[in-house]
C-alpha cells in the first residue's frame, strides 16, 4: 500500500520533478538562463498559455475538450484592442466578454443541443477565428497606447510581470474552486461518471455549462494579455494553442477521460513545455548544434512521448493519483 502510494505520488508530482530537472539543466548549462530578464520574459509569455490551460484543465476534468481556445484568444485580443481606446478596464472587460460569448455558445451546444464537445468546439474554433478576422478586417488591430491598456501586458507589479500575477491569481482561484467548492467537486464527479452524477442529484448540465463558460472567459483573458503585451489584437494568433494546452494538462497528469485532475500539476505542465522552448532557444545560442525548427518539433514530440510513457507506466502500477483532504 505504501509503495503503491509512493508510486502514485510520483505520478502526480513527476511533472514537478521533471520541471525542476529541466530548470536545473538550464541553469547548469547556460549563462543568464536564470537571469531576471529571462525568467520574467518566459513568465510573461507563458502566462497566456497558463490561462488557456487552466480552462482546458477544467473542461477535460468533466470529460470534455475545448478546441476553440486558441481562436477564442485571438478573438479576445481583437475585441480588446478595438475597445482599448475606451480605457484599460473596458478593453479588459471587452476581451473577456468576447471569450465568455464563445464559451457560452460552446456551453449551449454541448449541454443543450447535446453535440459532442470535440465537434462543437471544433466548429467554434472556425467560427471564432472567422469572427476575429471579420472584426479586424483581416489585419492586426492597434491598441490604444494612451489608455494605459498596454500596462496590463507590459508592466510589472512588485517587480513581477502583471500577466504572471494574473495567471497566479487565476490558478489560486481555480485551485480553491476545484478543491473547496461543491461545483469543483461536481466537475470531477461529472467527469468520473456523468450518469451517476445526474442520478446522485447533482446539476451535471449546469456544471458542464459553467466549465465551458469559464474556459471561454479564460481564453478571452489570455487574448487581452496577448493584445496588450504585443500592442495589437491579432486575429491569426492562437493557432495550435489548444494542443499546447491539452499537452500541458495531460503532462500534468489529468486524465483525458475526465474525473481526475490537478490544477497545480497543470501549471507545472505549462511551465515544463514553455521552458522546453526556452531551453531549445538557448541551446541554439550555444552554437554547438544549430537545431533547425524541424529538429525542434521532432524533439518536442519525443519529449512528449517520454513524459506520457513514463506517466502511463507510473499510473498503471500505482492506482490513479487522487488528492485527499
Amino acid at each position: 500500500m505504501t509503495r503503491q502510494r509512493l508510486i502514485s505520488m510520483l505520478g502526480s508530482y513527476g511533472v514537478v520533478l521533471a520541471l525542476l530537472l529541466l530548470v536545473l539543466f538550464g541553469w547548469a548549462r547556460y549563462d543568464y538562463f536564470l537571469g531576471f530578464f529571462n525568467i520574467t520574459s518566459v513568465l510573461r509569455y507563458n502566462s497566456m498559455f497558463a490561462l488557456v490551460a487552466l480552462g482546458m484543465c477544467f473542461v477535460i476534468m468533466t470529460g470534455g475538450i475545448d478546441l476553440s481556445v486558441g481562436s477564442t484568444a485571438a478573438l479576445g485580443s481583437v475585441v480588446a484592442a478595438l475597445a482599448s481606446p475606451q480605457g484599460a478596464l473596458t478593453g479588459l472587460g471587452a476581451g473577456v466578454g468576447a471569450g465568455l460569448c464563445v464559451g457560452l455558445i460552446n456551453a449551449i451546444l454541448v449541454t443543450r443541443l447535446k453535440i459532442m464537445p470535440f465537434v462543437a468546439t471544433l466548429a467554434m474554433m472556425l467560427a471564432a477565428s472567422g469572427t476575429a478576422l471579420l472584426l479586424a478586417d483581416n489585419q492586426s488591430v492597434s491598441v490604444s497606447y494612451e489608455s494605459g491598456f498596454t500596462s496590463i501586458g507590459q508592466d510589472n507589479f512588485l517587480g513581477f510581470p502583471i500577466p504572471a500575477w494574473i495567471a497566479i491569481v487565476a490558478y489560486v482561484v481555480g485551485w480553491i474552486v476545484l478543491n473547496f467548492t461543491s461545483t469543483g467537486r461536481g466537475v470531477l464527479a461529472v467527469g468520473g461518471n456523468e450518469d451517476a452524477t445526474r442520478l446522485m442529484g447533482l446539476p451535471a448540465d449546469r456544471i458542464k455549462f459553467l466549465v465551458y463558460l469559464a474556459s471561454g472567459g479564460l481564453a478571452g483573458l489570455a487574448g487581452v494579455i496577448l493584445a496588450s503585451q504585443f500592442g495589437a489584437g491579432q486575429p491569426i494568433e492562437g493557432v495550435g494553442w489548444e494542443l499546447f494546452a491539452i499537452a500541458a494538462v495531460v503532462v500534468g497528469g489529468t486524465l483525458l477521460t475526465g474525473g481526475v485532475g490537478s490544477v497545480g500539476a497543470t501549471l507545472a505542465g505549462v511551465l515544463l513545455l514553455g521552458i522546453l522552448f526556452n531551453v531549445l532557444n538557448f541551446e541554439n545560442g550555444k552554437g554547438w548544434i544549430s537545431l533547425s525548427a524541424y529538429w525542434q518539433s521532432v524533439i518536442r514530440g519525443l519529449f512528449l512521448l517520454v513524459v506520457v510513457i513514463l506517466q502511463a507506466k507510473l499510473s498503471s502500477r500505482g492506482s490513479v493519483a487522487v488528492r485527499e483532504y
Binding site: I65, A127, G130, V298, V308, S316
Partner: protein, 312 residues
C-alpha cells in the same frame, strides 16, 4: 434515420447550388468536387475505423507529409538510384505507404501497449511526424514530372479519375469489412465495451494495432495522391489540417466520436457535405473570414440533425 440527416443537408446544398451558383450543373463541377474530396475521404475511412474503436488519430496529416516526402526521394533516386522508372515508382509507393502504415502501427503500439489515451498518443506524431518529414527533405520542395507516378493523381480509368476510383474502392472495402467481417464487428465491440470484448476472447491490442496501422496506411495513400496531383511535394504543407477535416467528416457523417458505432457511407456523405459547403462558399465569393463562420454553422447543424434523428 441517423443517416438521413446528412443526406438532407447534402440535398439542400445541391438544391441551393442549382438555384444560385453559376455554371453548377456540369460534369466538370462533379469532377472538381469528386477529385477534391478524395483525399479527405481516403483519410476519413481510416479515421472512421479508429473512431469506431473509441480512439482518434491526430497524426494523419503528418503521416501524409511523411509519405509525401518519402516517395519522391525514392523515385527521384535520392536515396538509391533506380534506373527502371516503373520499378522506382512501385518501390516509392510501396515504401512510402508502408512507412506511413508503420507509423500508424507505432500509434497503435503506444495506445495498446501503454494504454496511453489516443488523443495524446497520436499528438506525439502530430508534432514530431511533420518534423520528421521536414528533416528528411530539409524542408525543401521536391518537384517532379513522372507520369507513371502522377497517374494516381491525374490519370483516368474508364474516364473516371484514378483517385476517385481509389476512393470508391476503399469506401466499399471498408464498409463491407465493417459490416460483414469478424474484424469489423470486433472493432465495433471494442468501441462499445472494451472489457467485454477482451473477455469474449477478442485480441483487443491486436485489433487496435491493425486499426491504427490502417489509418496510417490510408493517410499514406492520401499523401501520395496529393503530391501526384501537384507534381510537387512540400513536407511543410502536405496534409496540413487534415486531421480536423477528416474528423469533421466522420462526425458529420453520423459516427459517434465515443466509439462503438460507425458508418463508412455516412463518412463519405459527411465529407461530400463539407466539400460542397466549401465549393458553394468559394464559388459564390463569400469572404474567407465569413466562410469560416458559415462552415462552423453547417457542421453544427448537420451533427445536430443527426443526433435529433437518432433520438426520435
Amino acid at each position: 434515420m441517423a443517416r438521413y440527416g446528412t443526406l438532407i443537408a447534402l440535398a439542400l446544398l445541391i438544391l441551393f447550388n442549382f438555384a444560385f451558383t453559376r455554371n453548377f450543373a456540369t460534369m466538370q463541377t462533379l469532377n472538381v468536387n469528386l477529385t477534391q474530396v478524395c483525399t479527405i475521404v481516403i483519410v476519413a475511412v481510416g479515421m472512421t475505423l479508429v473512431i469506431a474503436t473509441g480512439g482518434i488519430d491526430l497524426s494523419v496529416g503528418s503521416l501524409m507529409a511523411i509519405s509525401g516526402a518519402l516517395a519522391p526521394m525514392i523515385f527521384l533516386g535520392k536515396i538509391v538510384p533506380i534506373d527502371n522508372v516503373a520499378l522506382a515508382v512501385a518501390a516509392a509507393m510501396i515504401i512510402a505507404v508502408g512507412v506511413a502504415g508503420l507509423f500508424g502501427l507505432f500509434n497503435g503500439w503506444l495506445i495498446a501497449r501503454f494504454r496511453i489515451q489516443p488523443i495524446v498518443a497520436t499528438l506525439v506524431l502530430f508534432i514530431a511526424g511533420r518534423g520528421i518529414a521536414q528533416v528528411l527533405t530539409n524542408g525543401n520542395l521536391q518537384t517532379f514530372r513522372i507520369p507513371q507516378f502522377q497517374w494516381i493523381g491525374l490519370g483516368r480509368l474508364f474516364g473516371i479519375p484514378v483517385q476517385v476510383v481509389l476512393m470508391v474502392l476503399l469506401v466499399i472495402a471498408a464498409a463491407w469489412m465493417l459490416k460483414r467481417t469478424v474484424f469489423g464487428r470486433q472493432i465495433i465491440a471494442i468501441g462499445g465495451n472494451e472489457r467485454a470484448a477482451e473477455l469474449s476472447g477478442i485480441a483487443v491490442a491486436k485489433v487496435k494495432l491493425i486499426v491504427y496501422a490502417i489509418s496510417g496506411f490510408c493517410a499514406g495513400i492520401a499523401g501520395l495522391v496529393v503530391i501526384a496531383i501537384n507534381s510537387s511535394s512540400d513536407a511543410n504543407l502536405v496534409g496540413m489540417g487534415m486531421e480536423l477535416d477528416a474528423i469533421a467528416a466522420v462526425a458529420v457523417g453520423g459516427t459517434l466520436l465515443s466509439g462503438g458505432k460507425a458508418t463508412i457511407i455516412g463518412t463519405l456523405l459527411g465529407a461530400m457535405t463539407i466539400q460542397l459547403v466549401r465549393y458553394t462558399l468559394l464559388a459564390n465569393g463569400v469572404p474567407d473570414a465569413a466562410a469560416l463562420v458559415v462552415k462552423a454553422g453547417i457542421i453544427v447543424l448537420a451533427v445536430w440533425i443527426q443526433q435529433h434523428g437518432r433520438r426520435a
